[in-house]
């Protein structure tokens, strides 16, 4: 009760501070020397209020204060403490508060960390960031306040959706948001730099760190979400082209393109317009992503119409941000005239541009697949869905040249280059093709596509390995990330090719026999936990090689809300995962059993870790160079 009040008023105070900050900065912009410390303390104060408000919400959750509407809707007294806390950001209102928290955190760290930058630039960045922050404050206070009061006080809450009661989903949103919202700093900074006409090499070096931070967190956030979907949803895969996944992939693609583009800007001072556009796009896409997921537009266009206030606010805010940034882009940005002539067809910058085109193509495919059903529904109320084949068909053919470019591009020189070590490159290509031919030859399905795909991925794999030994420390970060990417594609391909699956319905005591696997459903036992009842199925599985393995998949029947979830039993080894999940069929003696052997699953996760690790190395190296 008391916490709701404190939380609510801290939010309002934070909003006021935002307005004061903008007013001060604009008014004293010309004699900005005086402002430096004042701005820092005000920003800190604003951050402090957001923290208070956030802590208040967490406390309301911990104390199960059901007079708070958000707590009532998303918590329950029997829920474990860990998930009471995590439930804070597992809902629309709380997650927006988390957004705000990260927004204010980033601008604070930005101000502290960029002492050497010109004051005007810092102030202008602050103003743009405050515009976003003020927008979010008003959005939260006006349409989705986490501190709404219900009277009479309910005695019990409605509970958190059980599939969200999971350790991975506790850290997934904060990490993902650090990535999403991290791009806000890039957005504000790029607008400030454009206005002050200081898009130059120095700025590129400075902003690259922020791009890297945001990119690392976004990559890790997507990875966590993917791992969670793998073991919790029981679909037995790692990516489903679900709209909710797609919206996190969209800013990632834009950000990755930006990461490469900034290199060119840093080295050659070209492509400045492109960097600006990508920065704006990344943040806009991040914002779209959060809103699409959080406002329910994706699941249903009708939720959107049911709460027109929220949806309308989002749209207006988003469009005014885009409008503002476009105005700044067109009026303040004057690129140098001779930009285009300075490209030679075989050079590092050309290959980065080509990489960017591919990225933009992948991005458009994902956007079309995600947004088209929404538009069609609004325009003609025809209901459609776009499935994985759409994405596969459009992305896979372009992945092959993309991989080859990725292998050759980084070894080219800036400005004008020759293909060095032609024999080396050619031998490796031949080896890759032969190897992949050997791997694929036993499969008649999609023979050609698989051979080409695997050989291009292998090619990248070999070339990055070769670079590790030959170039030594020259560009480890890039090498690690590119190596990770080749490993990712290879693992995905092998995973697709060699996965096997058995789906059957079994009663307790029954046995399923196929030509190389025997599944015995021995018995079930039950256990009462704090807020759910667990049913364990005892399975023993005999594989083709004669080994017998015990597996214990679990069903959880939660008390509030009354939902059944499946916890898959996954036996992970270096080379493959064994995945067993059971589902309950209502009023039937049969259990729906799914057993999968999925090779290289672990490598998919590891390679994504490697990709982000590459980013981390680059970040550390940059920090050391500065010292």
């Amino acid at each position: 009760m008391i916490f709701s009040i404190i939380g609510h008023y801290s939010l309002i105070l934070g909003l006021c501070l935002g307005l004061i900050l903008v007013y001060f900065s604009v008014k004293n912009f010309q004699n900005s020397k005086l402002l430096d410390t004042k701005i820092l303390s005000l920003t800190f104060l604003q951050f402090f209020f957001v923290v208070i408000s956030f802590v208040c919400l967490i406390l309301s959750f911990v104390l199960s204060d059901f007079s708070n509407e958000t707590v009532f809707n998303n918590s329950h007294t029997t829920k474990p403490l860990f998930y009471k806390i995590a439930g804070t950001w597992g809902n629309h209102e709380g997650s927006l508060l988390l957004w705000l928290f990260v927004l204010t955190l980033f601008i604070l760290v930005f101000l502290i960390r960029s002492k050497n930058q010109p004051t005007k630039y810092k102030i202008l960045t602050l103003v743009f960031q405050q515009i976003i922050i003020i927008g979010f404050f008003s959005f939260i206070i006006l349409t989705s306040s986490p501190f709404n009061y219900i009277y009479p006080n309910p005695v019990e809450g409605l509970g958190l959706n059980p599939i969200l009661q999971d350790p991975a989903l506790v850290i997934h949103p904060p990490i993902l948001y650090l990535g999403y919202v991290g791009s806000s700093i890039i957005f504000s900074s790029v607008l400030a730099a454009t206005t002050l006409k200081m898009i130059n090499k120095r700025w590129a070096t400075h902003i690259k760190k922020w791009v890297l931070i945001s990119w690392i967190f976004l990559t890790l956030g997507i990875l966590l979400g993917s791992i969670w979907a793998y073991y919790e949803l029981g679909w037995g895969g790692f990516w489903f082209w679900d709209p909710v996944e797609n919206v996190s992939l969209m800013p990632w693609l834009a950000l990755t393109a930006l990461l490469h583009c900034i290199l060119v800007l840093e080295k050659r001072l070209i492509l400045s317009s492109w960097v600006i556009i990508l920065s704006i796009a990344t943040f806009t896409l991040s914002m779209c992503g959060t809103f699409l997921v959080r406002s329910g537009i994706l699941n249903s266009v009708h939720t959107f119409a049911n709460d027109p206030e929220r949806g309308l606010f989002i749209l207006i805010f988003l469009f005014s941000l885009i409008f503002l940034s476009l105005i700044i882009f067109f009026f303040f940005h004057k690129p140098k005239k001779n930009n285009f002539e300075s490209f030679f067809w075989l050079s590092k910058e050309t290959s980065i541009i080509i990489n960017n085109w591919f990225m933009m193509y992948f991005l458009s495919v994902v956007i079309i697949g995600t947004v088209y059903p929404i538009f069609l529904d609004v325009l003609s109320s025809q209901k459609i869905s776009v499935g994985p084949p759409f994405y596969h068909k459009l992305i896979i053919p372009f992945l092959m040249p993309f991989l080859l470019m990725m292998a050759i591009g980084p070894n080219l020189k800036w400005i004008k280059s020759n293909l060095e070590n032609k024999i080396h490159l050619a031998t490796l290509l031949v080896i890759s093709i032969l190897l992949s031919f050997l791997i694929v030859k036993n499969f008649d399905k999609n023979f050609l596509v698989n051979t080409i795909l695997i050989s291009s991925a292998l090619y990248l794999f070999f070339i990055t390995i070769k670079d590790f030994f030959i170039k030594k420390n020259k560009n480890v970060s890039k090498n690690v990330s590119h190596f990770g990417f080749s490993l990712l594609i290879l693992s995905i391909l092998f995973n697709n090719l060699f996965s096997t699956e058995i789906i059957t319905n079994l009663k307790v005591g029954e046995t399923f026999v196929s030509n190389n696997t025997k599944i015995v459903f021995e018995n079930i036992n039950q256990k009462q936990k704090k807020n759910y009842r667990a049913i364990f199925g005892n399975f023993s599985i005999e594989n083709a090689d004669g080994t017998v393995e015990k597996m214990l998949p679990e069903l959880r029947i939660y008390n509030q809300p009354n939902i059944v979830t499946s916890e898959a039993d996954i036996k992970t080894t270096l080379m493959s995962d064994k995945f067993l999940v059971i589902n309950l069929v209502q009023n039937q003696e049969y259990f729906n059993v799914r057993y999968q052997v999925k090779p290289f699953m672990l490598w998919i996760w590891l390679s994504v870790l490697l990709i982000s690790f590459g980013g981390l190395i680059s970040l550390i190296k940059r920090n050391e160079n500065e010292k």
């Binding site: 009708h302 697949g369 109320s381 499946s566 589902n583 209502q586």
Partner: protein
């Protein structure tokens, strides 16, 4: 007449344009092929021609209609005006229950039989797929 640079740039623009057109064409074609339309049992009942493509059907699982054996499950999807029999082999989601909303993806055998390749039920007890909501009308 024109310099080498102008010619090169012209060639460059032409190549870019052609690629763009090709890509747009490819995207549209693949969108057309891979879009899955949603239909209600009533729409199937009244349609003049049966879809040969993959479709989705949504509605309620009829009470007492689920029957299961070791390799397949049968049930009836109803929108309270018309109904359709579904045969399915595969993973059954936990929230698949009688008198709850469901979406089945697959192929029509005839007006009364649907062979499903995938069953979708959302992981939230209050959630009703929008397709189902509209298929059920005001119910």
């Amino acid at each position: 007449m024109y310099g080498r640079k102008v010619k090169l740039r012209f060639l460059f623009i032409v190549v870019v344009l052609i690629t763009l057109i090709l890509i747009v064409f490819l995207v549209l074609k693949s969108l057309e092929e891979n879009v899955v339309y949603f239909q209600s049992p009533s729409e199937i009942n009244t349609s003049t021609e049966l879809d040969k493509k993959k479709i989705r059907i949504g509605g309620m699982v009829k009470k007492n209609s689920i029957s299961i054996n070791s390799n397949e499950i049968n049930f009836i999807i109803t929108d309270f005006k018309n109904e359709i029999n579904v045969i399915y082999t595969g993973v059954i989601p936990n929230l698949f229950e009688e008198e709850k909303g469901v979406v089945a993806e697959g192929y029509l055998k005839d007006r009364n039989f649907f062979s499903a390749t995938k069953i979708l039920a959302k992981h939230d007890e209050n959630y009703m797929p929008p397709e189902v909501k509209s298929a059920l009308g005001e119910n």
